[in-house]
């Protein structure tokens, strides 16, 4: 057994240095040089302030904005650190709801959300992604249907013609990668930034 110790120890230290330090640090250096924006987290700045990341969803509750999907993320309770409180789109603690298919809590939550959505745009079927929590709790996207579904509400809140908004949504639909992979989607933050720009003009 003793004869195994030297190779074990030396290889462990050397390969640790190689794969645990040299490799990630080299990638950090290369990535920062070749793809600096992506390496830093695809951040979006407005007027010199970071307003978010292109890839990370954020919480929109105002009528005036397109809203993302329900988020099940939480944060430590300020009153009691041992407990957690709901904190949608907490990008420092990603999580899904983990509610199972026969969970009564899931049924209740989806029913409440569906009823609220249905009231906002009566007669139109509610897109399923608008009432289901994403896996990460940070989904930056909604389906094109979910964006179009919200047009009447946003149009009313902002006093903009629905057609103008529909065109804006359509312009923000990203198709499948190579027309094949994944699903069509709309980035909510990008759409809302464009919405604010529209208002400014």
């Amino acid at each position: 057994m003793l004869s195994q110790l030297r190779p074990a120890l030396v290889l462990l230290v050397a390969l640790t240095a190689l794969t645990g330090l040299a490799y990630p640090l080299a990638i950090t250096g290369l990535a920062g040089t070749i793809f600096p924006a992506q390496a830093a987290g695809s951040l979006i700045a407005r007027d010199g302030r970071v307003v978010g990341s292109r890839l990370i969803g954020q919480s929109f509750t105002s009528e005036r904005y397109f809203q993302g999907r329900p988020s099940a993320t939480s944060a430590a309770d300020p009153a009691d650190a041992a407990k957690t409180v709901p904190a949608p789109y907490n990008a420092a603690n990603s999580a899904g709801s983990n509610l199972g298919p026969t969970s009564a809590a899931l049924a209740e939550r989806v029913r409440t959300d569906r009823d609220a959505r249905a009231a906002e745009n009566p007669g139109v079927p509610v897109p399923v992604d608008l009432v289901t929590a994403s896996g990460s709790g940070l989904d930056p996207d909604i389906s094109p249907e979910a964006a179009l579904f919200q047009v009447p509400r946003v149009a009313k809140a902002r006093n903009i013609a629905q057609n103008t908004l529909r065109d804006l949504v359509t312009a923000h639909v990203a198709g499948r990668d190579f027309g094949l992979l994944g699903e069509p989607r709309v980035n909510v933050l990008a759409l809302n930034l464009a919405l604010d720009d529209l208002a400014r003009r």
């Binding site: 992506q38 789109y89 990603s94 983990n98 969970s103 994403s134």
Partner: protein, 571 residues
């Protein structure tokens, strides 16, 4: 289910199969110690490592010495990682000030990474420093994967050699796999991931002010370098809590596709390595075909179940499939396919929350793991796992016709079959034994977040995932408790090493045998008949072992859900 969905599945399979042959050819050269394109750069590094470690690259080991080297290496690796996690506060590269990891969590995490499981009791962005992520986790991702490959190669040498005492050198196999296979692929792969949007920075979390004026803390870090190896090495431990569902780990449908391919790439190529080393590539394709049959069957059910939606959503008139726990950019198909791939392959990375899958959709990942992750499987681990089943199949076939079973010219005798059964029986013992324990003690019953049969499924999934060294979870289970950290840690240890050691014993015993010429009575092992037999044996062994447990969990949940039954938490 859509045409586009099936097309994505077909494209995925085509890419994996197309990569198997070139990767297999390259890896075979690496394991044989031959020169490769990378030798001019890497050979000096390799020689330097051997000199420093006092290794004679030409000296091979008996299977027992091979096993001891592997155990010594992992023993030290475990201690180093445990220490690193406990002491991360006192060490550099901790910009977000993460505290020391608790002893039971550090034990669980260290075991988890050493065994190539990467069960996440820890929440990456809330628990670990950048140093712990890089030096501890990234590095163990490499070494546990390289070990799996080394062990598979040792077992294959058992088949390909005749009257030999040795099965190769663990140190050489480990070093060459890391240097020539994993590291170069990861460099290219990590840079691709960054191009898609995966962060790679040593800066602290970013504070953003959202459009509505709220503060949002964006956790970042050296993510890409870890995600590359966690996929390629079928480790699966996420940089972030939400793993590959997190947009920073898996930003686009393209990155998702490449990640799925990378989970299967080396495992599938190992079947080709096997074929080449035993001198008949058809033997490798036959094994890959058996894996393919099982994979496609599971994927079809999973895709159908998720696409059909859940009773809760149906009752509210919501169509478009079960999107709870899934990301819009992946949708139903890419989430279902990823789940099938990650559990078939012992990876355990998840791009959707398996806990929120439909009852039948969640059962497929469970079955994939319960079969022992031999559907492509973990890098190396999948190959030695399925070869164990091959031995049992050959034995059963031999019994049917009353001949001494032989495979690739080697007589399969009592010793090999006993060792194979030991390896096969270890997994259900861990999976079902610990599940049974957890359902009768209070500390175990405190874990599930969901009530009713789904709560049972959460427990069963946890121990299945641990013993199979997968690492994915029904995430609702509160597993970061002393009870679960300890029992899951033990499950992972036994599930890994009680398969490895018998597999190595088989390698040693086979290597020592003479190779017999094929005769008219030899069962051909490269055709459809053998593939069918192998699939049959796998399904019968798995079915007999696990059907009762599945009936108590997903199956009863499916039936109850169909009747509109829901279960309130705590009920």
């Amino acid at each position: 289910m859509t045409l586009n969905g099936w097309f994505q599945i077909a494209l995925f399979c085509a890419v994996v199969v197309a990569l198997a042959k070139p990767l297999g050819g390259y890896m075979t050269r690496v394991f044989a110690g031959e020169r490769t394109v990378l030798s001019p750069v890497l050979a000096p590094v390799e020689r330097g490592l051997y000199r420093a470690a006092g290794i004679d690259a030409a000296q091979e080991q008996h299977w027992l010495a091979y096993a001891l080297s592997m155990l010594a290496f992992h023993g030290l690796g475990f201690l180093a990682l445990y220490g690193l996690l406990r002491l991360q506060t006192a060490l550099p590269l901790n910009p977000d000030g993460q505290g020391a990891v608790a002893p039971d969590l550090a034990f669980n995490t260290a075991v988890s990474f050493v065994t190539n499981t990467n069960w996440q009791s820890y929440g990456g962005e809330t628990t670990l420093s950048y140093l712990a992520q890089m030096l501890g986790l990234t590095h163990q991702n490499f070494l546990s994967a390289a070990t799996g490959i080394a062990l598979a190669v040792a077992l294959v040498r058992g088949f390909s050699r005749a009257s030999a005492r040795t099965v190769g050198s663990f140190w050489v196999d480990l070093t060459r796999t890391t240097l020539y296979v994993l590291l170069p692929l990861c460099v290219v792969y990590a840079l691709f991931l960054v191009s898609q949007g995966v962060p790679q920075t040593l800066g602290a979390a970013v504070e953003a002010t959202t459009l509505e004026g709220a503060r949002q803390t964006l956790a970042v870090g050296p993510v890409a370098s870890q995600v590359a190896i966690k996929m390629l090495g079928t480790n699966g431990g996420g940089f972030f809590n939400a793993n590959a569902a997190h947009p920073f780990e898996n930003p686009t449908a393209l990155s998702n596709f490449v990640q799925m391919v990378s989970i299967f790439a080396l495992g599938a190529a190992m079947t080709n390595v096997f074929g080449r080393m035993v001198g008949d590539e058809r033997q490798g394709w036959a094994i890959l075909a058996a894996m393919g049959v099982l994979f496609l069957a599971g994927t079809a059910v999973l895709y159908w179940a998720e696409g059909a939606g859940s009773p809760v959503l149906d009752a509210l008139g919501l169509t478009g499939g079960n999107m709870e726990g899934k990301e819009v950019r992946f949708g139903i198909l890419a989430s279902a396919l990823f789940a099938a791939v990650t559990t078939a392959a012992s990876c355990g990375a998840v791009n959707a929350m398996h806990d929120s899958f439909t009852a039948l959709g969640g059962m497929i990942p469970l079955i994939n793991m319960e079969l022992g992750e031999i559907i492509v499987g973990g890098v190396g681990a999948g190959l030695y796992g399925i070869l164990v089943f091959v031995i049992v199949t050959i034995f059963v076939a031999g019994l049917m016709v009353g001949r001494t079973p032989e495979y690739l010219g080697k007589k399969i005798e009592g010793r090999e079959v006993k060792m194979a059964m030991l390896a096969i029986l270890c997994l259900p013992l861990m999976m079902l034994g610990f599940t049974a324990l957890a359902t009768v003690v209070a500390a175990g019953l405190a874990g599930p977040a969901n009530a009713g049969p789904h709560g049972f499924s959460e427990i069963l999934y946890a121990f299945t995932s641990a013993a199979a060294n997968n690492g994915s979870a029904f995430g609702g289970l509160s597993a970061n408790t002393t009870f679960y950290n300890t029992t899951l840690g033990l499950g992972m240890l036994f599930g890994r090493f009680f398969v490895i050691v018998p597999a190595l014993a088989i390698a040693g015993s086979l290597a020592a045998k003479k190779t017999l010429p094929a005769s008219a009575g030899t069962l051909p092992t490269h055709g459809g008949l053998f593939v069918g037999l192998l699939v049959g044996v796998i399904l019968i062994v798995g079915g007999l072992t696990f059907f009762p447990a599945l009936a108590l969990g997903p199956i009863v949940e499916h039936l109850a859900g169909g009747l509109g039954q829901t279960y309130p938490a705590g009920g």
